[in-house]
């Protein structure tokens, strides 16, 4: 039986649940010292003077590392340490000491004279005439060109109660939007605020590094491995081969640790400076600042529909809080709006503006999750106006296989959004539950909601590297990371299935570049499942072919006379014949050349060439680049259905039940898929209901720095009645058929809530997140709440 599609516990599970797994901060090296960083207390400042003399005189303090000791970086790129901190919490310097307590005391003893500079938290403030810019050079940069973009007083005055709209930095249009609005039967117009929220993975971004014989050894918390090594090498200006990167376990990243982290360079550089291993254990407090955040959006949107419910036009104007170093969520947001609603015409404008809030980065479904969470209730508003059932509305507007979207008329490899909608509606019981919509029992109003959320789910062209050793086992080398998604194990199944192996005969090699890992995708954009089932399938095929050839050479006949399965290479039709894989491995070593990796294909990436070369002679080597090809973007879909009860007297929202169904191609690992669908959905629910990041406008500093104040949802905050399902139709362009699943559930979970709450409130879209009791109650009672456009409040 094929391994793909089965529930198989991943090999790292026991270590994780017994606590034996070693994360970055658990490592120790001979002579190791600890470092702590001094963070900027101001949102924007210039360092005038650093006086570390008192700290350096303290017993046990070894040295300090300042911006002058690290590679320079040109704004808006993020520096490792900085003399012009651009956000509260930006690291200015680090101190190393024999223990952490001393390092902390040393930080407290350092005097940094800072000159406060103008700062801005809200991009709209920066766009006001005379408004402050986040950088001294301006509030927007593209390819080294800085601008200080300002709108006019008139732009702000004209906006009335809506988001002001001036000249846009980014713009694309398809069709004639104005004409389409003129012909639309119903038009809805809304102003939206989606809060910026931090990633807060369970494990903060700790790193330990040391140098030996010109190589740096780095234990770090990262989503990827092979690619993190390359990025660290880049930062240190080294050959990747001189970097040994270890990250077998990563306590989550959600996009904040894709190819490592900016500050993993601190211990590496510090260690080089002082010649001792250096550990940087990042605290939760520090993680709040350097741990990345999802950029907030302020948007204005206009949607036109026909009486039958078809969306004819969307006009979306998006202002993004880009933090000090930028983010590209805005771009995806426009694409996904177009893809999800397939409007006949669309105009998209965006203003990614720098602010002095901590740095932004992709967060699980970047751009897509925010925009779906906010647009779905607006689609519902249009559906109400048109008198169309909300499920029908989505069935009508969701894309089919022939869809093209975005400025470049992107196509898809496959799409079964409508199938997901239908299956989801059945599993959730849409027909019965939607009858509850708006009904009241006492002070509680019921609402049901749907969120349909697509996200990118694959990429092509990476390498697979497998080795059949004389012990008869298949070693699948994985350059991808292990951030809790099981993909290191689940994508390995693609190689094992080609060879017809039992899971017990498969060993996954991962998390340590010294163990020879192939060129891989970054573990982001939900690519891994798709990209690495393909790559491992390719390597598996290569290994299979070589097994056949080894058998033919050893036993006579042609390679095609042989087949592989059950741990043997056998003559077709005679399963018991031929060679065991152990014997094949021995023969491969004997034959050398391409069989054991002494000769390697040209097509593979140099990283793989080096890795495979180092494995040469150990067994039969399967190595190949994914050359299956394909056309169009790879997207997965999740539709979430939720039922909520909103207490109209307290504003409290309770999620009663939730169902999600995904179109993510072939299901690799059902239990793990369910965990992703739920995990992502719950993260989305938190985004819609509770999670926040608050700044004091006067001082420009953040609150909600801790788990309990930032309020990501926990398992006690979600309904017991959670269901999931999968359409399970293979993607035709992948030999395995699997697409990624990491990201699309977030938008689905969030939008199911935003739509259900709006439904309970009689279709009133509050058009902001999070939908906390205060926001809801203030609206119901006509009390003063947050301003319509206020970002970073809560």
């Amino acid at each position: 039986m094929a391994l793909i599609g089965q529930d198989i516990a991943p090999p790292d599970l026991v270590a994780k649940i017994t606590g034996r797994a070693k994360y970055a901060e658990d490592f120790r090296a001979e002579g190791m010292v600890f470092c702590k960083m001094l963070l900027s207390p101001m949102p924007h400042a210039r360092v005038r003077r650093i006086d570390a003399s008192k700290a350096l005189r303290m017993e046990g303090v070894i040295d300090i590392l300042t911006a002058d000791d690290v590679p320079a970086s040109e704004a808006p790129r993020e520096p490792i340490l900085s003399n012009e901190p651009l956000y509260e919490g930006a690291p200015i310097l680090a101190v190393a000491a024999v223990d952490e307590t001393t390092a902390a005391a040393a930080i407290e003893a350092i005097d940094v004279d800072l000159e406060p500079l103008p700062f801005v938290l809200d991009p709209l403030e920066s766009l006001r005439p005379g408004g402050p810019d986040a950088h001294e050079q301006g509030n927007y940069a593209s390819r080294g060109e800085w601008q200080s973009v300002k709108w006019t007083e008139q732009d702000f005055a004209d906006a009335g109660n809506h988001m002001p709209r001036g000249e846009a930095l980014m713009e694309w249009e398809k069709g004639d939007v104005e004409a389409a609005f003129a012909q639309a039967d119903h038009i809805v117009e809304e102003t939206i605020v989606h809060q910026s929220i931090t990633h807060h993975p369970m494990e903060p971004r700790s790193t330990m590094a040391y140098w030996q014989n010109g190589k740096v050894y780095c234990h770090t918390s990262t989503q990827s491995v092979a690619r993190t090594r390359v990025s660290l090498a880049g930062t240190l200006d080294m050959d990747p081969e001189d970097v040994v990167l270890v990250s077998e376990f990563c306590g989550g990243g959600f996009g904040s640790k894709i190819a490592g982290t900016t500050h993993m360079a601190v211990p590496a550089l510090f260690s080089r400076k002082i010649g001792r291993p250096v550990m940087l254990r990042v605290t939760r407090y520090e993680e709040n600042y350097i741990g990345r955040a999802r950029p907030g959006f302020q948007c204005w949107v206009k949607m036109g529909v026909r009486t039958d419910g078809k969306v004819t036009a969307i006009d979306l104007f998006l202002v993004q809080d880009s933090g000090p170093h930028g983010a590209s969520d805005w771009n995806t947001a426009g694409m996904i709006a177009d893809l999800t609603y397939t409007p006949e015409s669309m105009r998209f404008r965006a203003m990614p503006i720098y602010t002095n809030t901590p740095p932004k980065a992709a967060q699980r479904g970047p751009g897509g999750a925010q925009i779906i969470s906010m647009l779905e209730p607006i689609l519902d508003k249009a559906a109400r106006a048109a008198g169309v059932d909300r499920l029908e509305m989505r069935l009508l507007n969701a894309p089919d296989a022939d869809v093209t979207f975005g400025p470049n008329e992107t196509t898809l490899t496959s799409v079964h959004a409508k199938e997901a909608l239908r299956q989801g509606a059945a599993l959730f019981g849409w027909a019965e539950k939607s009858a509850l919509s708006g009904t009241r029992v006492g002070s509680k109003a019921s609402g049901v909601g749907i969120g349909l959320s697509p996200y990118t789910a694959g990429s092509r062209g990476f390498d697979g590297l497998v080795l059949i050793k004389p012990d008869g086992k298949l070693y699948v080398h994985q350059g991808i990371g292990n951030l809790g998604t099981h993909s290191i194990a689940d994508t390995a199944r693609a190689a094992a299935d080609v060879l017809g192996l039992e899971w017990d005969d498969v060993e996954v090699v991962w998390g340590n570049t010294a163990q020879q890992l192939p060129w891989s995708s970054v573990q982001a954009g939900s690519q891994t499942t798709h990209a690495h089932t393909r790559a491992n399938h390719a390597a598996g095929l290569d290994a299979k072919r070589k097994c056949q050839e080894v058998a033919a050479r050893a036993l006579g006949g042609a390679a095609d006379d042989y087949d592989v399965g059950g741990g043997r290479v056998f003559r077709r039709g005679r399963r018991g014949s031929g060679l065991t894989l152990a014997q094949v491995a021995e023969r491969a070593i004997e034959y050398g050349g391409r069989f054991d990796g002494h000769e390697l294909p040209e097509s593979i990436h140099t990283v793989t060439t080096v890795a495979a070369g180092n494995l040469a002679g150990q067994g039969l080597l399967g190595v190949a680049k994914d050359e299956f090809g394909g056309e169009g973007a790879i997207y997965s879909w999740v539709v979430g259905f939720a039922r909520v009860e909103v207490d109209l007297e307290t504003g409290d929202v309770e999620v009663m039940d939730y169902t999600a169904v995904t179109d993510c191609g072939t299901v690799l690992h059902p239990r793990s898929l369910g965990a992703q669908v739920f995990g992502g959905s719950i993260q989305g629910m938190g985004m819609a209901m509770t999670q926040r990041w608050v700044f004091d406008p006067k001082w420009g500093v953040s609150f909600a720095k801790r788990f309990y104040t930032a309020r990501p949802p926990g398992i006690l905050d979600v309904p017991l009645d959670l269901k999931w399902g999968a359409v399970g139709i293979a993607d035709p362009q992948s030999p395995v058929g699997a697409k990624g699943i990491g990201e699309p559930p977030v938008g689905a979970g969030a939008a199911a809530i935003t739509t259900a709450v709006a439904d309970a409130l009689g279709g009133n879209c509050l058009c902001r997140t999070p939908l906390t009791p205060d926001v809801i109650l203030a609206d119901i009672e006509g009390r003063r709440g947050f301003g319509r456009l206020e970002q970073h409040v809560g």
């Binding site: 702590k36 001094l38 963070l39 207390p41 952490e100 307590t101 902390a104 930080i107 407290e108 003893a109 350092i110 005097d111 940094v112 605290t283 939760r284 407090y285 520090e286 002070s443 007297e649 307290t650 504003g651 409290d652 309770e654 209901m689 509770t690 608050v694 700044f695 004091d696 406008p697 006067k698 001082w699 500093v701 609150f703 909600a704 788990f707 309990y708 104040t709 309020r711 949802p713 926990g714 006690l716 905050d717 999070p770 906390t772 009791p773 205060d774 926001v775 109650l777 203030a778 119901i780 009672e781 009390r783 003063r784 709440g785 947050f786 409040v793 809560g794």
Partner: protein, 333 residues
């Protein structure tokens, strides 16, 4: 100048075995000493290095302090009784379900296992300006940052503000207040029994503490008189997140009914002021009347007389009105 958080600075640690030993340590070290119960509030302060006591006196091994026993015709709960032990206590659940429910609403099971009743009523406010170590009034400074016109104050108070606008975070405090509990406080040899009313103090009296407790004081137990045993009770807490979250507002009420007449009542709200607020005007407005929806609505209106909202907490006014209304509504036949 550099700020370090999330790392506890060193202190001397004592684990006295008896209350007397604890009191001796407290009087020996005066202002330098810190009483440690479950640590859920304490460790936050220590980790952030904002409060740096020289001496920490852990009550964790004084067994007598976690006893729950009969006292006269009521109950005496040791200050170190865990919130979980209160939730699971059969007698409390039977006679004082208000306290059971309130304790059940604290944060998460883990926090209830660790948190103590004494610590819960003695805990400091969660105002994030104050908790960030800013030099606000409560921290001995001259500014309330939370009341500034643009400040982030949706969780702050609408009543009882006096320069400081922080609120009392405790879930059990309003329940204990409604049940007319008294706090037994020892200082050296002296023992005082303090009404809940006097135990929680506002910033107008002392802006730097939430309770009457001062250096050297030890809360040893909390007594609940029999008076409200078996009364009709109502508890509700509104919070942003279903678990692991402090109250935006809560209400705790106890009623004695005579048929459908409200014979006696105590109504306390929390999350609206720097201390739990007993609404005597509400009580007066309902005692002696037939419980009805109108009575409930009227009680809600009485409750919010004199409130004053800040920039971002206007919602607290209708929330308070509705919670009080719901409390009274709960006894409508």
């Amino acid at each position: 100048m550099g700020t370090i958080r999330d790392m506890i600075a060193p202190f001397d640690f004592f684990q006295p075995a008896t209350v007397d030993d604890a009191l001796a340590l407290l009087s020996e070290h005066g202002d330098d000493a810190w009483v440690l119960a479950g640590g859920l509030d304490s460790f936050d302060w220590f980790k952030d290095r904002i409060k740096r006591p020289k001496v920490v006196v852990d009550l964790g091994v004084i067994e007598s302090l976690s006893a729950i026993s009969e006292s006269g015709d009521g109950l005496e709960i040791g200050a170190m009784a865990s919130l979980t032990s209160i939730v699971n206590h059969a007698r409390i659940r039977a006679d004082y379900p208000l306290l059971t429910t309130a304790a059940e609403h604290v944060a998460t099971p883990q926090i209830r296992n660790q948190g103590t009743l004494g610590g819960n009523v003695s805990q400091d406010t969660r105002c994030w300006y104050y908790r960030s170590g800013w030099p606000c009034y409560r921290a001995g400074g001259n500014t309330c940052y939370a009341a500034a016109p643009q400040a982030m104050n949706r969780e702050h108070c609408i009543l009882g503000a006096s320069r400081c606008v922080a609120v009392s975070p405790s879930d059990t405090a309003p329940a204990l207040f409604a049940l007319d509990a008294t706090m037994v406080v020892r200082h050296g040899r002296r023992e005082r029994v303090i009404d809940a009313e006097d135990f929680f103090i506002g910033p107008s009296t002392d802006i730097t503490r939430m309770t009457i407790l001062e250096a050297g004081d030890l809360l040893t137990s909390i007594r609940i008189p029999a008076q409200w045993a078996g009364a009709r009770v109502y508890y509700e807490k509104v919070r942003d997140r279903g678990s692991w979250d402090f109250a935006l507002e809560s209400v705790a009420a106890a009623f004695r009914m005579d048929g459908d007449m409200v014979a006696d009542a105590r109504v306390v709200v929390n999350g609206v002021a720097p201390y739990p607020v007993r609404l005597e005007a509400v009580e007066r407005s309902i005692i002696g009347s037939r419980a009805s929806e109108d009575l409930a609505i009227g009680a809600g209106e009485v409750a919010i007389q004199g409130v004053r909202s800040l920039r971002h907490n206007d919602y607290k006014v209708p929330m308070m009105r509705n919670l009080v209304k719901r409390a009274v509504r709960s006894v409508v036949a």
